[in-house]
């Protein structure tokens, strides 16, 4: 023994220490395995995991209000939603500036739709306002033009607001660069330059027009009026014609001879609901970048001044729907266990030749198109269908009162039990195959009755199969869409059908994403349980 002990570490053939050499080989092996997996992992991440993540993000995302109505969102923050009064005029003014841009970009209806999910009626409010918002400030436009016809000229605004460098650069050939504001105008006339900037950029982008050839919208005049009223000395910052024009206008405003016009009155004239504090409360509540509103909605809750509260009785649908989905999935799972257990037992206990023949009867439905099976059930279950015809022929049911077996919960449960039954039988079968039949005989020879032998000896050993099959069937059932859609009618639909409805018909994607997220969490919890009980590696097909 002593002649093989060496001083120092054991060396590999190339002279390195064996330990390090082995570690290196192991590392190489790991890297090679990961390299083989990497392309698929990347593919699944890109095509599948990212979309799911996107859905999760969408369930809390709420940027549309802030993106479309930035000034309004800022202005409305100072308003006390509990005051019971409509917000001050400044908020309406900001709304006019935002809305005229949004209307030109045709985004106002999207904000309207978004807020309509929370308070019905807002959608039409925004639609109407979008058509007429360019009239807000019309009075100012007329008075400015009457003061000096130059106020009707696009060039006047150019000389007041445009950045000289930008003016120089647009003189060159080619497309007009994006409009730039001059520093002077920005400092002296903050509101008006903001409004004009929006105007210039919008018509550049939306209409491919030049601000140098277009007369500004009426709200720009309103902003100008408001700036000059706040700071009559603003004209000092300018020179030449611009200074003269602004001075004249400021003088007129100071003298009180310019008729003022309230943005609030203009909006209320369009629709009296604009004076409703409830509308503004909704806008203020959903002004944030992120919202839990969709989730609250999905849980039949709504926001209120004192935290989330339950919706009125007649608006609670999702709780019922989730509960129904769970109960029906459970019913389907139970009927699959009841029907699948005997079949799995007989398949596992027959001679293998016969069992293989009978296995085809299980596998054929498994391989047959889902739509084929659903259409078959539709054919069989309908009132003029095969089952009713047979029952009538046998005299068990009279021709006048044929059974209603479709477009209700019964139809959904029957069809889905049939569709999911192979998923129950296959895992049960593979577990039962491993149960040694001699245990049962041993129990009986020790005096157990049939029932005791089955219940105390066989059944406990088959429980893993039942568990695996049940979780699989339950997971599949809870997210089913096609079959409930086709045979479920109104009473037999699942939460998936509601999700699909929100994606393709009501277009409330946020709510669809929130409902989907809740469903996903339930399924992932079950998936985790399945992995603990069965192990993902042990999933078998066919």
């Amino acid at each position: 023994m002593s002649d093989i002990t060496q001083s120092g570490p054991v060396l590999a053939a190339d002279g390195r220490p064996l330990k390090r050499s082995l570690a290196r080989a192991l590392r190489m092996q790991k890297i090679r395995a990961l390299m083989l997996i990497a392309p698929l992992l990347l593919f699944v991440l890109l095509t599948f995991i990212l979309p799911i993540a996107d859905m999760l993000f969408r369930s809390v995302e709420n940027r549309i209000v802030q993106d479309t109505l930035p000034q309004t969102v800022v202005a409305v923050q100072d308003w006390d939603a509990d005051s019971g009064e409509a917000p001050p005029d400044a908020v309406y003014e900001a709304l006019a500036y935002d809305l005229v841009v949004a209307a030109e970009r045709k985004q106002h209806t999207r904000v309207g739709t978004r807020l309509n999910y929370e308070t019905p009626g807002i959608s039409s409010l925004f639609r109407k306002a979008g058509r007429r918002v360019d009239e807000v400030g019309e009075g100012y436009l007329k008075q400015f033009a009457a003061l000096d016809p130059a106020w009707g000229e696009p060039q006047t605004f150019m000389s007041v607001f445009a950045d000289p460098e930008w003016l120089a650069s647009r003189a060159g050939a080619g497309d007009e660069p994006p409009f730039q504001l001059s520093e002077t105008a920005h400092d002296a006339l903050p509101k008006a330059s903001g409004a004009y900037m929006n105007f210039a950029r919008t018509i550049q982008e939306e209409d491919n027009d030049s601000p140098a050839e277009e007369e500004p919208w009426a709200p720009v005049y309103m902003a100008l009026h408001s700036d000059l009223a706040a700071n009559p000395q603003a004209a000092q910052a300018f020179s030449g014609d611009a200074q003269r024009l602004l001075q004249e206008a400021a003088a007129l405003i100071e003298s009180g001879q310019m008729e003022t016009e309230s943005a609030r009155d203009a909006f209320v004239k369009m629709d009296k609901d604009w004076a409703d504090p409830e509308v503004w409360r909704t806008l203020k509540t959903y002004a944030g970048k992120y919202t839990n509103g969709y989730f609250l909605n999905a849980a039949d809750l709504q926001k209120s001044p004192d935290g989330p509260e339950l919706r009125p009785e007649d608006e609670r649908i999702y709780g019922t729907l989730f509960l129904r989905t769970l109960i029906m999935s459970l019913a389907i799972t139970c009927s699959c266990i009841v029907l699948g257990y005997p079949v799995a037992w007989i398949l596992a206990n027959l001679p293998s030749r016969t069992a293989n023949m009978l296995m085809i009867l299980v596998l054929l439905p498994f391989w047959t198109s889902l739509l084929v099976r659903t259409s078959a059930w539709k054919v069989m279950l309908q009132q003029q269908g095969v089952i009713n015809d047979t029952l009538v022929w046998l005299g068990l049911v009279s021709d006048s009162d044929r059974l209603v077996m479709i477009n209700n919960q019964f139809g959904t449960i029957v069809a889905m039990t049939h569709i999911l039954l192979p998923f129950m039988i296959l895992p049960m079968y593979s577990v039962m195959q491993t149960i040694n039949p001699t245990y049962l005989r041993a129990a009986k020879s020790l005096g157990a009755t049939n029932w005791t032998a089955f219940w105390r000896v066989y059944f406990p050993q088959s429980v893993p199969g039942i568990g695996a099959g049940s979780i699989l069937v339950f997971i599949l059932a809870i997210g089913y869409y096609i079959t409930p859609e086709l045979v479920g009618g109104t009473k037999g639909v699942f939460i998936s059908n509601r999700i699909a409805f929100h994606i393709s018909q009501s277009l409330n994607w946020g709510l669809a994403a929130a409902l989907g997220t809740i469903l996903l969490v339930i399924v992932l919890a079950l998936y985790w349980a399945y992995d603990k009980i069965v192990g993902i590696d042990n999933v078998k097909l066919g």
Binding site: W367, Y480, Y481, S496, D531
Partner: protein, 391 residues
């Protein structure tokens, strides 16, 4: 193989059992004709007499059974024409078989000798229950097939069909399928999408499965969970996520988008089947190949690939059928230009319900039988190659 020595039953027992069966069938026929009670009585009496008489004539079994078939067929023909004759003949055959099965105690022969009569009864009751469940499994598929030859636009058997009248049958729904532009376009789309998706999932999936079955893979469980997830996540959620995300990046409503989505859905099946094949793979084969001077690429194509090919092909078939049968995801990710066969069927079932669907369904069933047979043969071949006896 007889486990238990048996002797013939007494005529009384045979008659009683046969009478019970007769009462059961009589109940149905009786209710169909108007009086259940009368049917029970007539059925019980008829089969009871047959049982009693035949129990003593067990040596003339074959001629007697033919006689029963002929008599019941004739009776059926007199009562209700051709269809009733066929039903009568079947019933006659069953009666003959059942009576002699009881009378000669054949039912007892291959059961363990220590079973009590109750246990024997339960044994057969249990088989009948299983039979009913098998019927439940297979009937919907079998019902669709004859109905697809219906000459009428009905979804049920017409009187002509039940009379086996050739007038009642036609191929018009098949003709509609093969000439209608909507259906042909849908078929063509399916044929274009499914193979591409299969190719993608098989290509990536096989590589990854080989990687996953190496002895040392870090994060194996987590990676497996991610790769299997498209099978577990409900389709409607996958569809919603893909719809949102693909419309962000401009893939929504494109052929490429649908192919990518279907490939992702098919991957778990490839991973599962190929890793299952690799479990039984003998690693010393690759070492032997390396020992003889083959590079990794040669080893893969000449040694490993031929052995795992059955698994790869059946994984591919699973991926193919997943894509070919998929409707939820394509409904959202695709646009009208990618309308596949299942989509067209879905529309057909939901809106303008037309029996052409049944013709398509029959064609699809035939295709799935072909695929099932292929997979089964591949599985056996794979087990034979790996030296396991086919089970």
């Amino acid at each position: 193989m007889a486990l238990t020595p048996v002797e013939n039953q007494t005529p009384g027992f045979t008659a009683a059992t046969a009478a019970a069966a007769g009462a059961f069938f009589g109940l149905f026929v009786g209710t169909a004709q108007g009086s259940g009670l009368l049917g029970v009585l007539i059925g019980a009496a008829l089969l009871g007499v047959i049982g009693f008489v035949f129990a003593g004539l067990t040596d003339k079994e074959t001629p007697l059974r033919w006689l029963l078939v002929a008599v019941f067929a004739a009776a059926g023909f007199v009562l209700g024409g051709l269809v009733a004759a066929v039903i009568g003949a079947l019933f006659g055959w069953f009666t003959g078989w059942f009576v002699f099965w009881i009378a000669t105690s054949r039912y007892r022969a291959h059961l363990a000798p220590y079973l009590t009569p109750g246990q024997v009864l339960w044994h057969y009751t249990f088989r009948v229950i299983c039979g009913v469940i098998f019927v439940f499994l297979i009937t919907p598929i079998l019902v669709v097939m004859p109905l697809s030859f219906n000459a009428q636009d009905f979804f049920t058997f017409t009187p002509e069909m039940l009379r086996f009248d050739p007038e009642g049958y036609s191929l018009k729904h098949y003709r509609d399928f093969f000439t209608n532009d909507d259906w042909q376009q849908a078929l063509w789309n399916s044929v274009k999408i499914a193979p591409m998706a299969t190719l993608l999932s098989v290509g990536f999936g096989t590589l990854a499965a080989i990687g996953l079955s190496q002895p040392h893979v870090p994060f194996r469980r987590a990676i497996m969970a991610i790769l299997i997830s498209p099978m577990i996540v409900p389709l409607i959620i996958s569809a919603a996520g893909m719809y949102f995300f693909y419309s962000r990046i401009g893939l929504q409503g494109t052929y490429f988008g649908v192919v990518l989505a279907h490939a992702a859905l098919g991957i778990p099946f490839v991973i599962i089947t190929v890793t299952a094949t690799l479990v039984g793979f003998d690693r010393s084969l690759t070492r032997a190949a390396a020992n003889m001077g083959a590079g990794p690429v040669t080893t893969f194509f000449r040694v490993q690939m031929p052995l795992i090919l059955p698994g790869v092909i059946s994984g591919g078939l699973f991926a193919f059928i997943t894509s070919f049968d998929e409707v939820v995801v394509v409904l959202f990710v695709g646009s009208a230009g990618q309308k596949t066969l299942p989509w067209q069927m879905f529309i057909g079932l939901r809106e303008q319900i037309s029996p052409t669907i049944l013709a398509v369904a029959t064609i699809l069933v035939v295709i799935s039988i072909a695929l099932l047979t292929t997979v089964e043969m591949l599985r056996r071949r794979s087990e034979r190659l790996r030296g396991m006896s086919p089970s």
